[in-house]
């Protein structure tokens, strides 16, 4: 256990970054699958513990490259937790894929190394204090997922990866252009060089920046990072990437990568809010959020593929979250944060269930999946709980956050609250309709016993249910504090 304690004692921020990189190097070299899968879980656990220790070690002073504040601790801990549970799910998922020959050991070596590099990229994006470094980190995480989406090398997987790459590169370009514009806005005030890209310095001086330049920069940044959040006009890569890649990747895409891009948008939104003359970022975000919500809600009805169904549900929920942050104010921000955490937990739990279900049935077609609660009660009831939670029924945590968002929308923008509620109800109907088909009725398809790992799924669902009934007051106070930071 000496490694363990030395990791805790050393700088926690460095540990969060170094562990995945070292693990990636090891995993790229190790043959076989049992050992690497375990190492993958172990490294993810270590990263999670390092992330938790950020609470204990306190926050180091922001440097030129790295920053730890209350906002990003929340993201890092969530990221590391879901990364850890997904690695457990991944181990059992991968074993089955190897058995039926969809993946080869060589694929797996690549897959595990990429998994850790992706975790590194996401953690780096969260802790970076430099907007250029943040851009690089988001791109690194995106590129690794592009490669993993294409892992199966089928027609569909290649097409999905290509589409993801092309649309992602449009996002890459827009986000970098926006970043350059922010630098140009900062340069006359802060001076040339590194300082004009350091976020903590930027936010201090943001009031003196040229507002027109900031406005244009934000539009590019919102479009660029918004592509990766999966907002409506730029979402086309998301359902394909979710449906055709390995399911553990669908889980981290929905649960984590979308949050990374959202985090970038939030950072720049704070910058814009700090400048009194700049355009208010709220209405732009609210519009994109609402359009995504309503569009995805209608698309849910026509899905025939179970993974595509939940991919559209991710677009819907990202829309709700972006709407909440666009609305602003302490309550809406609080609800947005809560919704983000709940969505990450619930959606990845659903993908854990879906991954095993698709393996048992040998297909992702919804019409081939019937009566799961009868044949596979463990998975079936897990799916039921997950979908009921994601649809926004009480007592799950998502009900609470959606309730807060709707009520604060009624208080601030009653006209916008109507399409919001409309979208929520449409999505609710679609999800329950699909759920009753899959979970109940006459069983159809293969009934072979599931060799599933239930712990990650039920751990997530338990957290979501508990959060809906009882939120510990320190957590509430902490979220409120972050909500006030966001303004």
């Amino acid at each position: 256990m000496s490694v363990f304690s030395s990791v805790l004692n050393s700088d926690a921020v460095t540990a969060v970054l170094v562990i995945p990189i070292v693990a990636a190097a090891l995993l790229a070299l190790l043959p076989g699958y049992r050992m690497p899968a375990r190492l993958n879980v172990f490294a993810s656990l270590l990263t999670f513990l390092a992330a938790l220790s950020l609470f204990v070690t306190g926050q180091p002073a922001p440097g030129q490259y790295l920053l730890v504040d209350d906002l990003n601790i929340a993201f890092i801990v969530l990221n590391a937790f879901v990364g850890f549970t997904t690695s457990i799910f991944s181990a059992s998922y991968i074993a089955h894929e190897l058995e039926i020959g969809r993946l080869t050991p060589a694929n797996l070596r690549f897959y595990h190394a990429m998994y850790q590099i992706m975790m590194f990229g996401m953690n780096l994006a969260f802790v970076s204090n430099n907007i250029g470094l943040m851009w690089v980190a988001v791109e690194l995480a995106t590129l690794t997922t592009v490669l993993m989406v294409g892992l199966y090398r089928t027609h569909e997987a290649l097409e999905a990866a290509w589409k993801y790459f092309i649309l992602g590169s449009v996002g890459i370009a827009f986000a970098l252009f926006g970043t350059i514009l922010v630098y140009l806005a900062a340069q006359p005030v802060v001076g040339e060089g590194y300082d004009a890209m350091v976020w903590t310095i930027l936010i201090e001086h943001a009031a003196a920046f040229d507002p027109a330049l900031l406005n244009v920069a934000f539009v590019f940044l919102l479009l660029g990072y918004g592509t990766k959040v999966g907002l409506a006009p730029l979402h086309a890569w998301l359902p394909d990437a979710h449906a055709e890649g390995p399911t553990p990747i669908s889980a981290v895409l929905s649960g984590l990568l979308l949050n990374v891009a959202l985090y970038a948008v939030l950072r720049f939104k704070m910058l814009l809010s700090a400048n009194p003359d700049a355009l208010a970022p709220g209405p732009l975000m609210m519009t994109m959020g609402l359009v995504s919500l309503i569009f995805a809600a209608f698309m849910l009805y026509r899905r025939r593929d179970i993974k595509r169904l939940f991919a559209y549900s991710s677009i819907e929920h990202m829309g709700i979250i972006v709407f909440a942050f666009g609305l602003g104010g302490p309550i809406a921000n609080f609800a947005g944060l809560l919704h983000m955490v709940m969505h990450s937990l619930t959606k990845s739990a659903i993908f854990f269930a879906v991954g095993h279900i698709a393996q048992i049935k040998g297909t992702q077609r919804l019409s081939a999946i019937r009566g799961l609660t009868e044949t596979h009660p463990g998975l079936g009831w897990g799916l039921v709980t997950g979908v009921v939670a994601i649809a926004g029924l009480p007592p799950a945590g998502i009900f609470m956050s959606e309730f807060l968002i709707v009520s604060s929308a009624f208080a601030k923008q009653p006209l916008l609250a109507i399409p919001l509620v409309f979208g929520l109800l449409i999505a609710f109907g679609a999800l329950l309709l699909r759920l009753t088909g899959a979970a109940f009725g006459q069983p159809r398809g293969s009934v072979m016993p599931a060799d599933a790992s239930y712990i990650p799924m039920y751990a997530h669902l338990a957290l979501v249910l508990i959060a809906g009934v009882y939120l510990p007051s320190p957590l509430v106070a902490w979220f409120q504090h972050i909500a006030n930071l966001l303004r």
Partner: protein, 221 residues
């Protein structure tokens, strides 16, 4: 800043926009690659000029990478690949050339109108450079949208990257990003060439992305 300095910088950046427009109407892969090499060559000159004007020696590195990698290595490699795959036939564009050119002119006008309006206080060198850079970026997007062929989409993306490098070098004293964005364009080029093209070839015997569209899995959606 004196007149000739600005003039040369603008001439080079404007030249980049012109070459981007030339890419729009290339209907053969070899020709498209040659124009892309020219594009990268002009970018090299532009970056080198900025390095000289701003007295920023690290930009010479960027210029050297642009010259070696984008103007020489990538076009040569793609040339060989096209010959080996035997796909040097015509490029099927989605829209007609006339319409594409009109759209290109519109995008350049839009870029200029937006960037010049929001940057009245900025350094004049950066100001017009940004307008040109945004034009190159949007034209790169247009190339990607109007082509069906995977190779020409990659070329469109790399020309878009050239626009970003132009913007980053035009912003005086911008740290970090120049080197990293160049490193990224190399990485992306590797990924695209190495992974995608070979895998697409492996499966389809063609690099025409439309072949992928046929397998779109409509039945499964």
């Amino acid at each position: 800043m004196s007149g000739p300095v600005l003039d040369i910088a603008h001439m080079l950046a404007g030249g980049l926009v012109l070459v981007s427009m030339m890419m729009l109407y290339q209907d053969r892969l070899y020709a498209l690659l040659n124009v892309f090499a020219l594009h990268s060559l002009i970018l090299t000159l532009s970056v080198a000029w900025q390095a000289f004007v701003q007295d920023a020696p690290h930009l010479y590195v960027t210029a050297a990478i642009a010259l070696l990698f984008k103007a020489i290595v990538i076009p040569v490699v793609l040339h060989r690949m096209i010959r080996q795959l035997g796909i040097h036939r015509e490029i099927e564009t989605v829209v007609g050339i006339g319409l594409t050119m009109l759209a290109g002119i519109g995008l350049v006008a839009l870029a200029t109108a937006v960037m010049l309006r929001v940057t009245p206080q900025a350094d004049p060198l950066a100001r017009e450079d940004l307008a040109f850079a945004l034009s190159v970026l949007l034209l790169g997007l247009l190339i990607m949208v109007t082509r069906r062929n995977a190779v020409s989409q990659v070329v469109g993306f790399m020309s878009l990257e050239n626009g970003l490098v132009l913007a980053a070098t035009g912003a005086k004293g911008m740290p970090l990003v120049v080197e990293i964005s160049v490193a990224f364009s190399i990485l992306i080029a590797f990924i695209v060439i190495g992974v995608f093209l070979f895998r697409i070839r492996e499966r389809f015997d063609t690099v025409d992305v439309r072949a992928l569209d046929d397998f779109k899995g409509r039945r499964r959606k």
